[in-house]
């Protein structure tokens, strides 16, 4: 049978793509445009923040060095009511993790998230909810009220992770929606995929509120979702393949970027 398959696969080789392969200069241009878009995104965040006059300190768009991270103030486990109903907050690029924040992985490279919709990346729990039979959109009222969102993926060789930072008029309520989503859908399954189990393994260990969620994908892999809220901002990091202490340690870096 193995040989029969090999013969079949031979016939698959050389399949014609729907359109001719792009010439190499077009591929290189696409790569340069990716660089340009990333720089532009950083620049537009600066302009947006300046226009709103929020006073956040961000780096200049032309400066490739990451903005300095303010020393994190002492962590408070008590939510700060004055910040949770803050005016709509634009998420600028300085709120996202930088490669140097990944203390356990050297040489992480950031890149745009794939397939963002017109309103930016989707709610980080939407994929799980899509395949959860008990999901009812009406049970998660904050999702449609999101003000802004921005995300990046991070990779090193075959390892990949992503972070999405969102701002909500009521971020405390959004954290309640996240907890409700996990409680409602502790297990789900992609079509033809393994059963996925998600379990909250730690709470309130960083920022003004936080969650560490273990995501077991069958018996093959265990990933972690790290959720941190500071004021109106909620950051969600999908940290692939663990280990748990490394994933948990990311929460402090996330909180520092949000402050």
């Amino acid at each position: 049978m193995s040989e029969q398959l090999t013969v079949l696969f031979e016939q698959l080789r050389g399949s014609q793509p729907p359109t001719p392969f792009a010439p190499p200069d077009q591929v290189r241009r696409r790569g340069r445009q990716r660089n340009h878009r990333q720089a532009l995104a950083a620049g537009s965040a600066v302009l947006a923040v300046a226009g709103l006059g929020t006073g956040w300190a961000v780096g200049a768009a032309s400066d490739p060095t990451p903005p300095p991270v303010s020393p994190a103030p002492p962590q408070s486990l008590t939510p700060a009511p004055s910040l949770t109903h803050a005016p709509p907050t634009t998420v600028n690029s300085s709120r996202l993790l930088k490669p140097e924040d990944f203390a356990a992985i050297d040489g992480v490279e950031p890149a745009d998230l794939d397939d963002q919709g017109p309103n930016g990346p989707e709610w980080p729990w939407m994929t799980a909810m899509t395949y959860c039979p008990d999901y009812r959109a009406a049970d998660y009222p904050t999702i449609t009220k999101r003000h802004d969102a921005r995300g990046l993926s991070y990779s090193k060789d075959t390892w990949i992770s992503w972070e999405i930072v969102e701002s909500y008029p009521d971020a405390v309520a959004n954290m309640a929606d996240v907890r409700r989503a996990i409680a409602t859908c502790p297990t789900y399954q992609f079509p033809d995929g393994p059963e996925i189990q998600q379990t909250v393994v730690a709470e309130q260990f960083a920022g003004e509120d936080s969650l560490l969620v273990r995501v077991k994908r069958g018996s093959a892999r265990t990933d972690y979702m790290v959720v941190v809220r500071v004021g109106a901002l909620v950051a969600t990091l999908a940290y692939m393949d663990g280990p748990e202490p490394d994933a948990r340690a990311m929460a402090d870096a996330m909180a520092a970027r949000l402050r």
Binding site: L5, T19, V27, D157
Partner: protein, 165 residues
């Protein structure tokens, strides 16, 4: 060799193999082509680093598979479209067997499909499939065995013929 020349040569030499692999993994020629093009664009972004890797093609292949998987992850709309319109049409192929093989691959679980494609189409030994997919070799062998059994059923192959990994 200047960077543009080495990249262009790498692109010309490996793009068809990578398209074949992604087409077999995704079952969708347009999706495969776009994932491969995007992966090459990312390779060019950091070509000075990627070109120094022992196997730059493996890097692009892994990135392309991740792009495709990332799209599946966010593919609720596509799932709904699939339900509305049926599966995407197969590309016009010179060979009905190849089309049938892609259709059969689309019906087996993704981990088995990836293992089968990397082993039988790309030609990677089991140990390299394990390295590229991040699972133990025993898991790869099990996926290959289960995937081959499933394909045998779907393609009416002879399951009793000796198979090895």
């Amino acid at each position: 060799m200047p960077e543009t020349d080495s990249f262009d040569a790498f692109y010309a030499e490996s793009r068809q193999r990578l398209f074949d692999c992604l087409y077999a993994v995704t079952g969708n020629a347009a999706e495969a082509q776009d994932a491969v093009q995007e992966a090459f664009a990312r390779a060019w972004q950091r070509w000075s680093t990627v070109r120094e890797y022992g196997d730059p093609e493996a890097w692009v292949r892994t990135v392309a598979r991740r792009i495709a998987i990332s799209r599946w992850r966010r593919a609720r709309t596509a799932v709904l479209a699939h339900r509305r319109h049926g599966p995407p049409p197969a590309i016009p192929g010179p060979n009905a067997d190849a089309v049938a093989l892609v259709a059969a691959l689309a019906r087996i679980p993704t981990p088995q499909r990836v293992a089968i494609v990397l082993h039988h189409l790309v030609g990677l030994p089991v140990a390299e499939v394990a390295q590229e997919t991040g699972v133990p070799t025993g898991t790869v062998k099990a996926r290959l065995a289960r995937g081959r059994r499933a394909l045998a059923d779907l393609l009416s192959l002879d399951p009793t013929e000796d198979s090895h990994v």
